[in-house]
């Protein structure tokens, strides 16, 4: 199998977190507490969802355009840069193209534009939160927010850790998929889905088991 020099494997970038790495800075968003930022993220999701449901009505499309521009402006004001925002789209390019094509064919170009604008707004808003907030600070915020639910049997530390693992495991699974693709190609089976998916699933389960054992050993969770 040949690969052009300087190009990584196709698909998710195993070396990068899906929603952007924290970039230290002194902007207002960097200084803001994580709670309001997470509430803002939820608000972006809510507005995007409600507006998308009303597409292709003109007010809904206008609202989505304003939302997209506002989120992008917020990210740029925080110093995250155009390349950072473009990077988020590059990782999701295949999903965006597929989703846009299906929406265009089934519901028309305006609805497709609305769906993509809503999705990109949410991705950029999430990347802005992760880009301006260290993960431990986000973890503490989630744990604090869940404390009132302790009386209902919710363990805030456990839920916070589960959310953290869900996000940080994405590049790990992407790496396993890349390895399985390479192994399948080396065996002369680059297009056989079983040769790629079966080992990926098995190794993902093994990784999950190893992580749970390591977390227990570190005292972060009980068995």
């Amino acid at each position: 199998m040949s690969r052009r020099p300087g190009r990584g494997p196709r698909g998710l970038d195993a070396g990068a977190p899906l929603l952007g790495r924290h970039r230290p800075g002194t902007s207002a968003l960097h200084r803001a507490r994580p709670g309001p930022k997470l509430a803002g993220l939820a608000a972006v999701g809510l507005v995007a969802g409600l507006a998308r449901a009303q597409a292709p009505a003109a007010p809904a499309l206008a609202l989505l355009a304003v939302l997209l521009l506002a989120v992008a402006a917020g990210a740029l004001a925080a110093g995250l840069g155009v390349a950072y925002l473009a990077g988020q789209l590059r990782r999701l390019a295949a999903v965006l193209v597929l989703l846009g094509a299906v929406q265009w064919l089934t519901r028309g170009p305006l609805v497709a534009a609305a769906v993509l604008a809503g999705l990109v707004s949410c991705v950029w808003a999430a990347a802005t939160v992760t880009g301006t907030t260290p993960v431990p600070v986000l973890l503490d915020a989630v744990v604090r927010a869940l404390r009132p639910l302790r009386g209902l049997g919710v363990d805030p530390d456990r839920v916070g850790l589960a959310l953290l693992l869900a996000v940080t495991s994405i590049p790990v699974v992407a790496g396993l998929l890349t390895d399985s693709r390479a192994a399948a190609a080396a065996r002369g089976l680059p297009r056989d889905p079983r040769a790629v998916l079966v080992p990926t699933v098995l190794r993902t389960v093994a990784h999950a088991h190893a992580v749970s054992e390591a977390l227990a050993a570190r005292g972060l969770v009980d068995d």
Binding site: H22, V135, T168, G175, A214, A217, R218, D222, D223
Partner: protein, 225 residues
């Protein structure tokens, strides 16, 4: 002090560890032996990742079966593959997660984590993604994260197996200098020979126990070729 009293581990009908009694009081203890001999199971008994089918394990008087959290606070564990152990995106955040567990205040964690990384020569990697680090750097980071909790006992399961010679030597140096009792299973006989006591484990039994130099020499002599 670690004590195993007539400990036996069964997996269904199969005996993984035959009844074994040991007292480990030395500053450093190595377990050597072939793959599948029961070394990892013996190590996992020490912090409750495996519970004995018969007998009991005592770590400073506490049984993992009945005081799991207390035992795990005292016993740090380093695995062969650090990837499963590193759960935060960056090196400094992973060490800070360990500090969170031991109650270091939020405002002090970042600075303390950077100090600990600097002490292991990893200061320049503090803000790097753990996925960008080499295997050796990741193992040193995993070790730093475990040592950040101040364990009294450091248990390591083949910590140098995946490393190049340079990093294997560095990890061995850190292990032997750590302010904790070291119990390490290893195929790295140079590391094993630097410990005080070694146990040769074969087919689920400790077949030889004594000063590390003697046991390692006997084990080396038994290997074909």
């Amino acid at each position: 002090m670690i004590r195993l009293e007539a400990v036996e581990v069964l997996a269904g009908e199969r005996v993984v560890v035959h009844p074994t009694s040991l007292e480990l009081a030395e500053r450093s203890v190595a377990l050597v032996g072939p793959n599948g001999s029961g070394k990892s199971t013996l190590l996992r008994l020490l912090n409750g990742l495996v519970l004995p089918s018969h007998g009991r394990v005592l770590v400073d008087g506490d049984e993992p079966e009945h005081a799991l959290a207390a035992v795990r606070r005292r016993v740090g564990f380093v695995f062969t593959d650090p990837d499963a152990q590193l759960v935060m995106p960056t090196a400094v955040e992973d060490v800070a997660l360990s500090l969170r567990r031991v109650g270091v205040p939020r405002g002090a964690r970042d600075a303390r984590a950077r100090e600990l990384l600097a002490a292991q020569g990893l200061a320049g990697l503090a803000d790097r993604s753990v996925r960008e680090l080499s295997s050796g750097q990741r193992q040193l980071l995993a070790l730093t994260s475990v040592l950040a909790t101040g364990p009294a006992v450091l248990v390591c399961d083949e910590p140098t197996t995946l490393l190049d010679l340079h990093h294997a030597r560095r990890v061995a140096d850190v292990l032997l200098a750590a302010p904790a009792q070291l119990v390490v299973a290893t195929h790295d006989l140079a590391l094993a020979a630097r410990t005080e006591r070694a146990l040769w484990v074969q087919d689920g039994r400790v077949v030889r126990d004594g000063p590390a130099g003697d046991v390692v020499a006997a084990y080396r002599a038994s290997e074909p070729g």
